[in-house]
Symmetry: C2
Subunit: 379 residues, 2 copies
């Protein structure tokens, strides 16, 4: 726990090996500074002499594509599929075009797909792999902090419909996930901040040591320091693995990972998915959930601590146009909702959450105006 904050130059590549056991097998995971290099042999073996599809964006491909060269040398044929950055790619028509290209390139049931990009590329790629010829194997090589700490693990895949993010998809676990924190050095600060919001989400409810580490190292983490990020990504992955193994398809325990997401998704949708990044919306969503928690006398010590930490994130302000009624309607359409209502994840105290089903429309309504006016001001 005492890594130097500023690593020496030419620090050697290293990877922590983890695994996630799920109902259909297991995901092999490499996490660390330079973790890609030590994973390549295993990936090449998995690809074998089969058709390989790489789903990526022009930016990621331009920055990092050559790092995968040894994999392409091995495959029977490699087809690089580039899509737009961000949510725009998570579209049914885009998926249809990708399937057509994969068929035309000779894609078969034993073809492999690599996702090489952020959370959107991973969500889309998992969906495309999961439905191509009723499912082919895939691996995730996430290139954003958010995707490394959260989205790449656990088998959730998705595309969007108008106004309804992630409403179409399936659970399809990757065979391998490689989180190389050196790939994060080229990320803008806002992208790192968005990823750290998901880290805070998991740390607050699942890993008190990780929360302390983020508080201590925030400055270098926001600067994209690969050495400082490595143990943070590894601890986040461990926390997520434990929850997903216990509840693979979000029947119960896994819902804890939705802390901040009920209001977060509503904020994203109301802001039009472009004004706020997912992680930024989740940060605000956690602040809202903390209000609901405080109204029930929960999280007395944790709430001010998280408010302080998120206050250091320099979040962009909430768009002024957000309407109370719209947010309430969007919360009612939360995709985790059941006929019995919306389940809110509220922090009880450090390392502990409760999932409550009896938050009324009135409870939400009472908190929305003060939240929108001063999101960081929680009594």
């Amino acid at each position: 726990m005492n890594e130097p904050v500023h690593p020496p130059p030419n620090r050697p590549a290293s990877a922590t090996r983890l695994r996630l056991r799920h109902p259909r097998g297991e995901t092999r995971i490499w996490v660390g500074e330079g973790a890609l290099a030590p994973s390549l042999d295993a990936l090449a073996g998995w690809i074998g002499e089969r058709a390989l599809f790489v789903l990526t964006t022009p930016r990621v491909w331009g920055l990092h594509g050559e790092r995968l060269q040894t994999l392409f040398d091995r495959a029977a044929v490699t087809e690089v599929l580039e899509v737009e950055e961000g949510e725009a790619a998570k579209d049914l028509e885009v998926a249809g075009q990708l399937w057509d290209r994969m068929l035309a390139a000779g894609g078969k049931r034993d073809s492999r797909l690599l996702t090489f990009g952020g959370g959107s590329v991973g969500d889309l790629g998992g969906f495309v792999a999961g439905c191509f010829l009723r499912g082919i194997e895939y691996a995730q090589l996430p290139t954003t902090l958010l995707a490394q700490v959260d989205a790449s693990l656990g088998g959730k895949t998705a595309v969007d419909r108008p106004g309804a993010k992630n409403c179409v998809g399936l659970f399809h676990h990757p065979e391998a996930v490689v989180c190389d924190t050196r790939l994060l050095a080229t990320l803008p600060r806002e992208e790192l901040r968005a990823g750290l919001a998901e880290v805070v989400k998991m740390a607050a409810l699942l890993d008190p040591d990780l929360l302390s580490r983020v508080e201590r190292d925030l400055a270098v983490l926001l600067a994209g320091d690969a050495a400082a990020l490595a143990p943070v990504v590894a601890a986040s992955a461990r926390a997520k693995i434990e929850v997903v193994e216990e509840d693979p398809e979000e029947a119960d325990r896994r819902r804890v990972l939705n802390f901040g997401h009920t209001m977060g998704h509503a904020l994203e949708a109301a802001a039009g998915f472009s004004a706020l990044r997912h992680g930024e919306a989740v940060a605000y969503g956690m602040l809202f959930a903390l209000r609901l928690a405080r109204a029930r006398d929960l999280a007395a010590e944790l709430a001010p601590r998280l408010v302080r930490l998120l206050g250091r994130f320099d979040l962009p302000p909430l768009p002024p146009s957000l309407g109370r009624e719209e947010l309430i309607a969007l919360i009612g359409r939360d995709k985790k909702a059941r006929e019995s209502g919306v389940a809110w994840v509220l922090p009880a105290k450090l390392g502990e959450a409760v999932i409550v089903n009896d938050i009324s429309r009135n409870d939400v309504e009472r908190q929305i105006a003060p939240f929108l006016a001063a999101p960081f001001l929680i009594e």
Copy 2:
């Protein structure tokens, strides 16, 4: 095994109960003359007071919709989703519109979907249910013989892409399947013939008694006699259940169900999916597979027996436009193909198949011209 071929009027409803165990649970199955009525209590309990979506076609809805009334009385809300008949409905854009309607109607993770139609409605409905909010439960109420004996069981779901049938989908098992042979009375003879082709497929390789029964009862079966069809549907379901339970996702044993489908799919695609019904194409596909089998000295007794039986089907002639080269190219794109090649299912003898990977392009080419010229003439 001695049911009267012509049932007395007002014969009471009866249902054989079966179950299919799969990796994620089990499918409860009702099969029989009038099986819908005795299944309604269980279906109503499964629906509970949740949102219910019924995927159907205008024709099926008009003919049989009122039979489901007691289910709608129970649901929190019922939304009837009508789609076109046949392959046209198995389209990504159609699926997108259905998801939008389900979201707008308040669809949630515990909503239920019923498919009420033929194989296309079942394939599309399973896909729509499997990907809506990452999977909701559904039940199949098949109204064609083909869907009752084959498509509704086993969790295969799909939509098509241009020129590539069933190439997008997932395995998603229904919670319940109800095969009421009284619903088949309104089917045209060609539709019954198409379903019986899939029965012959399973009977030849899995159930010799069923093959004898089809040979004996063919005339009344083709007339849509509900009492005669009931044991045929039940035996087909039993045969399919056994194979699917052994190999849920078609890694090996389940491939036996593809007898007739390698050439069958190619014929369907080459004919444009409208000139030949799926079952008719499978019948011709079996005749082609029997040619390949005979060339290897397999199926010496079975081949003439199946040729004789299929000869009594009055199949529509093969479209004259079918091209050899096109068929060979389409076979190479078979979605069961692996990088190592196409796997052909060849009958060895009654009740026994072999799956072979070493049929060369030449082997296929040699048989195609004589097959197209005289499909029933096998030496």
